[in-house]
Symmetry: C2
Subunit: 368 residues, 2 copies
Amino acid sequence: MHEPSFGGSEWLYLKECLDSTFVSSVGKFVDRFESELASFTGAGHAVAVVNGTAALHIALKLAGVRTDDEVLVPALTFVATANAVSYCGATPHLVDSEESTLGMDAARLRAHLVSQTEQRVGSCVNRATGRIIRAMVPMHTFGHPVDLDGLLAVAKDFNIAMVEDAAESLGSYYRGQHTGTFGLLGILSFNGNKTITTGGGGAILTNDPELARRAKHLTTTAKVPHRWEFVHDELGYNYRMPNINAALGCAQLEQLPGFLESKRTLFERYRDAFAPVPGVRMFAEREGCRSNYWLQTLLLDESIGGRRDELLAATNAAGYQTRPAWAPMHTLAPYSSCPQASLQVAESLQRRIINIPSSAVLAREPSP
Amino acid sequence: MHEPSFGGSEWLYLKECLDSTFVSSVGKFVDRFESELASFTGAGHAVAVVNGTAALHIALKLAGVRTDDEVLVPALTFVATANAVSYCGATPHLVDSEESTLGMDAARLRAHLVSQTEQRVGSCVNRATGRIIRAMVPMHTFGHPVDLDGLLAVAKDFNIAMVEDAAESLGSYYRGQHTGTFGLLGILSFNGNKTITTGGGGAILTNDPELARRAKHLTTTAKVPHRWEFVHDELGYNYRMPNINAALGCAQLEQLPGFLESKRTLFERYRDAFAPVPGVRMFAEREGCRSNYWLQTLLLDESIGGRRDELLAATNAAGYQTRPAWAPMHTLAPYSSCPQASLQVAESLQRRIINIPSSAVLAREPSP
C-alpha cells in the first residue's frame, strides 16, 4: 500500500547516531528534526514524539480537553483520532464528512451545533448530555485538506478549540499554508506507512511558544531541568522521540520534496488510466488545496459501491494491496454509543472508497 | 552516568532493517526480539513496546487496575511507576523501602495493610479512602531484586496482584529466577541509559498466554486481524515497538552477558576502592540475589548524609557524572496528597544514595 524509500542520508545519520552513542533521549537529531519540521511546515514550533497518537493525546490536553468533555471527531477516520480523546477521559462526538474533501463538513457541523448545543459561560454545551464540547479534531483524509475556512469559522462562532489531525498530510497545503498550522495545535505522524517515516514517530505543531514549551514538558515526564535532581512538577508522559528515530527522520525529510513530486506523478498516471473506466474516479485535490496524495484514492459511484468488497478481494488476490477506508467510528464497539450527528455522507463514502498502491517509488517505474 | 555500547551487530541489523524497508510496525525484528527476551528471562511471553512506561500502563490495566483503585508503589522510584498508575485513573499508595534491598519492605507493608485495610468480597480495601488496593508494583532499584518471597506472600494474603517493575533489572535474578517473572506481569525498559538499549523501548513479561495475547492486542490499537479491514474491538493503544528499534535490541541482547560481566567487574573495583573510605560503602547484592549492577550505588552513613549535595556538586564540577536517588514521590507536586505509609526508610535512603558512573565500558579500562 505504501512502502517507505531509504535512498538518502539514512545510513550516514544512523551511523553518526550510533557512533555518538546518543541513540535515546539525548542527542542532536531530535532538536534538528524539530527545527527542520518547523521550517518545512512554517509552524512556529514542532515537538517530536513517539507517534501521532501520543501527539494527539498531548495536543488535546493542551487544548484544554478534560474528563467528561466532548470532542468533535469525524466518524470517518483512523481510530487513533477517537482514542486520543478517550485517553483524556473525554468522549468523541462523531460528525459527518463531505464528499468534496472526505473530511469534516463545516456546513453540516454548523447546523448540527445550532440544533444540539447552547452557549453557557463561553462554552459550547451539548444539550442532550450536558457536557462541554471543548475541541474539534478535523483530519485531512489521505492527505486532502479539509475545508479549513469553514471549520475555523465554526470553531470561532461556537467557542471550540481546533486541533488539526494532519497525521496523513505532511506536504499538503490549504491556500498556500501547510496543514496542521491553522488550529491552536496540529499533529503529524511518521509511521512506517506515511509519506516520510521515523519507524514510529509523530510531532506536535503550534505557533504558540508557551504551548510548545508545555508540549515539550509534558512529553518528557514533566521533569524540571536540573543537572542531577529528579523533580517532576505535574503528571507527565514518556512520549519523547528517541534520537535514533529522529536521525531517520532528518534523512527522510531531505527527500520529502522528491517523494511529493513522485506521488503527484503517480496520481496523474492513475487519473489518466482510470479516466475511461465508468463508475470510478480518482479523488483529486480541490481548488485552493495542494494534496500530498498520501494514499491514492478511487471513489466508486453509488451505483457500484456494493461491489467494493469484490474489488478488494480480487485485487488483493492478484497481489495488489488495496484497502477500504476505516470502519466508521460509530460501527466500532468502543465508540458505538458516542453522541453523533447524522453520518450519511461518511457512511456513503466508506462504502465507496478504495485506496490503491501509493508508494512514491511506483512513480519511478516507466509508464506502461 | 550510563553510556550504551554498540560493538556488536547493531550496524548489520539496522542495515538489514532499512534494506527490507520494514522499519515500522511490520517486520521480523520485533518478533525475534520478543522471542529472545522470553528466552533470556525465562518468561513464557514477552511483548515489545515503545518504552517501560507504556509497558507498565498496559500491565496495570491487565492486572485489573481501574479508575478509583489504589496501587501500592514505592515512594523511592522513578516517577514513571506512579505515572502509569495515574494513566489508569487510579491513585498511587506510597509505601516504604528497606535498607537491605532499596525496594519495598514486605514486613512494613504487611503491618501497614493490617492496620489500614480490610477485606471486602475478596478485595483489599483502604478503610480511610474506601478504595480497593488492586495491585502492588515492587521496583528492583538500580537492578537489585526486592524481597520477592516476602512481597509475594503479602500479595497472596491480601488479594493484591503483583506487577513487577523490572525496568532497571534486566539480567538480575532472585533465587536463580529472572526478575520480572514472579508477578502476574512484569516490565522491562530499554531506554538509552539502561543495561541494553533500543533507543526507546520496553517489554511486558508474563507466563500467562492469555495475558500475553491481550497485551499484544491492547498495544497494537486493538485491531482485529484482517487482510484489509480496520476493525478495533476495544480502546487500544499505539504502543508497539518499531522494527528499527527492535533491530537495535536484537544486537544489544547478544552482548548482554558481556555487559553484565563488565558491570560486575566495575562493582568489584569500586567496592575495593571505597573499602578504606570511612562513612561510605558500595551497595552490594544480597545473598540469594544476583544483581545486574545497573547503576553503581554509594550509600553514605547517616552521619555524613547531610553532605550528599556537597559531594554531588564537587563530583559533577570535576566532570564525574553522579546523581542522587529520585525525589521521593510524596515530595512531588502531583503525588503529594496520595495515601501513604510511614516513609522514614525511603526518606533516609534518599538522603544517603549517590549513583556513580556505571557504564559497562568503564570496566574495560585498566585498573589504576
